[in-house]
């Protein structure tokens, strides 16, 4: 018996075309209806990323509002870098409507990784005035706060930081997703990588619209030194194609800049471990073309 949530994800075997099925589009529409339970087939047009490469990989040509997205850091805790943190803020700046309030459910126990700095948020293009920080020690409280926020129409977005080992599981993430759909508020789950070897637990399916893995990339690729540049891997996306890009963030225009994605440019990155997404469905050209159709 396949887990329904897992089935809702874009997994290679589901995407593999079966010659016995005449109309894949109709089937996909049916699956979407089952997922939503509302008959609403596709989410409204998302917020464009601004980079053609990334937008093409996302369904609806952009990042969906009113959904939960997951941002995973490359290192096993935020101790070593703030790349995933910065990327989450960049997503926020694009997802949350202008001047709307943003709820940030932080982990106060995360002493080692430091605390979000208002001036730092401003430097990334997010007005600190808009952010309401919620300090919830307990995971359950943080989940509750996130769910309440997601269900509150009028809020800009909700971000919740989670422990790698104690991130929302299937049921909790499904609740979050439903709350986000109800309130039309976008949510971001921000967490470091799992501590288990090779991040095995990371691939445990949870109900999120997209999952991004973010690592710092050398700013030599960008036009100016020491600019935020990230190596961004879209690991999981509903009805889209996973992919990997090097993106620079321009805080003043709230714009992503797609730096060249050819492997030649990536040699200087010096990343310690090869990312564990070699099984990503994007590697299957047939699947990719089917998805595009």
């Amino acid at each position: 018996m396949r887990d329904p949530i897992e089935a809702s994800e874009t997994t290679p075997d589901l995407a593999t075309p079966d010659p016995g099925i005449p109309d894949l589009t109709a089937l996909q529409a049916m699956v979407r209806r089952l997922e939503r339970g509302t008959g609403e087939a596709t989410p409204a047009h998302g917020v464009a990323f601004g980079c053609p490469g990334v937008d093409a990989a996302l369904p609806g040509e952009g990042l969906a509002r009113g959904r939960v997205h997951e941002v995973v850091g490359e290192t096993r805790s935020e101790v070593r870098d703030a790349a995933a943190f910065g990327f989450a803020i960049a997503l926020l700046s694009r997802l949350a409507p202008d001047a709307s309030t943003i709820l940030w459910c932080a982990r106060s126990a995360n002493v080692l990784g430091g605390t979000p700095s208002a001036r730092g948020l401003a430097a990334l293009g997010l007005d600190p005035e808009r952010v309401v920080f919620v300090d919830a020690e307990d995971e359950a409280d943080r989940l509750w706060a996130m769910e309440e926020g997601l269900a509150t129409a009028g809020l800009g977005a909700v971000v919740a930081e989670f422990d790698p080992a104690r991130r929302p599981q299937a049921t909790a993430s499904r609740r979050l997703q439903l709350a986000a759909e109800k309130g039309g508020v976008s949510g971001i789950i921000l967490r470091p990588r799992m501590t288990t070897p090779a991040g095995a637990g990371d691939r445990m399916p949870i109900a999120v619209e997209t999952r991004w893995r973010v690592a710092a990339a050398p700013s030599s690729l960008a036009s100016a030194d020491l600019r935020p540049v990230w190596d961004v891997a879209l690991e999981r996306v509903r009805r889209g194609r996973p992919g990997r890009w090097t993106l620079a963030w321009q805080a003043d225009g709230h714009r992503f800049e797609d730096l060249a994605t050819t492997p030649a440019n990536r040699t200087g990155s010096g990343r310690a471990a090869a990312p564990a997404e070699s099984t990503a469905p994007a590697e299957t050209p047939a699947a990719a073309s089917e998805q595009a159709a």
């Binding site: 709307s100 430091g114 700095s117 001036r119 600190p128 920080f133 706060a145 030194d225 020491l226």
Partner: protein
Amino acid sequence: MTAARSSCRVNRRVIALWLPHFATERLAREAPAAHPGTAPAAVLRSERGRQILAGVAPGLAGLVPGMALADARALEPALAVADWDSAADRAALQALALWCVRYTPLVALDPASACLVDGTGGDAGLWLDVTGCAHLFGGEAAMAADLVNRLTGLGYTARACLADTPGIAWAVAHAAELERGDVVVPAGAGLAALARLPISALRVAPTVSETLARSGLRTVSDIADLPRAPLVARFGAELGRRLDQAAGHLHEPISPLAPPAPYRVRLGLPEPVGLREDIDRAIHRLLERLCTRLEGERAGIRRLRVDFFRAEGDVRHLTVGTGRPVRDPTALFRLIAEHLDKLDPGFGIDVFVMEAERVERRDAVQTDLAGSALSGAEGVGAVGDLIDRLANRLGEDRVTRCEPIESHLPDRAERMVSAVAGASRHGAWAQAGVPSPAPRPARLLRRPEPVEAVALLPDHPPARFRWRGIDYRIARAAGPERIAPEWWAAHTTAGAARTRDYFRVEESGGRRFWLYREGLADRGETPRWFLHGLFA
């Protein structure tokens, strides 16, 4: 009135307070302190299209209330006037009455006050039933003197008379030529004090006193002993009633000002309830009653307390607070429901008492047909509700906003303030010059951590450093940005605050850090390196 009733009131003592120039003195009191004497000397009202003086400041000879403005200007060309605001007078008189509660809990407005009857005169009056209160103020004379002195200090011309009945006190305060502002008519001497006063002091209609005067009956003593029946037949029952009230034969009640009713509602049940649904229903009912009243008063609740009287004979409380005034029963119920889970009803709850401990003004918001707010603040209410819910469950200090502090030291350039405590200062960050040209890291370490760094030259950024057991080779660096300690800290706490040179560095893998070097080599200090923040 029976004799028994009046005899039990034999010890009653009442102060009648008269403020003859209330309307103008109130304006003078409210005038800006920097410009004393700029307040108008007279207030005006319109009567049949004519502007007449409704009240006159003291010390203006020849000017009396009721005079036409044109006549007054003839006497006093530079007369400063203003329109009479009887509603403001009423409010001020109410406030003054509440202030008088310092003497007695029974304070009433004199119904003959100009602002209450909307008549001419600009005066106002109060009753104070001080029965049994005088000894607290050193006796009756001292009490009356204290009252008048304090009112004089507040800027009012005040005349007070303490007597057995409201009638005598009123008559003496208004009519008698007092040497001082206060007078005490001893118990039982009321009629004697009244005898020489004009009949108008009995609070009868002016037509009655004028007709009597035409017949040669001018003072109270003239009519006091006349046969009552023909007098009443000729001049009406009121004259006799006023005479009897003054003499104490007829009780004259005063209706004391009710203290503001507390925002408290109570629900008593014939049987204790313990089921959650029943408790919810009780809370709903109380909230509806409370919120209906608040709706009428255009107020909202900031803090609400519920007492649960349990059948065991003890009481449980719960308190919820909100960030802005709320009077929506649903939103308040959601806040309370958070705590109801933890409420132990025991053997049942038989009485619920709900009290709004803090109430603030809140105007109605106009909504469209779908119920959403018409003003531009769409959704703001929902977000406020959310912040309230979060703060009620997690604690007010856990739901915060960041505020700038005017300090260039990154360690203390911002602080967290409760998001509930009211609206944040808008534009505070823009005022603080944020985002500043000097980049700041996305995450700041609580405390800068020492790192082992190697720099090629003393003034250079480090070439490599070791932090938390890992070596980083630096590929790019920018800086330094020199941040000196505040001048007072630099000299008081030697060594604790030293000049820092901040560098933004990027290691070969792309991670960006904020490092600083503390101590200046040319001052003979040993430089030490610290890591302070992480750039995105």
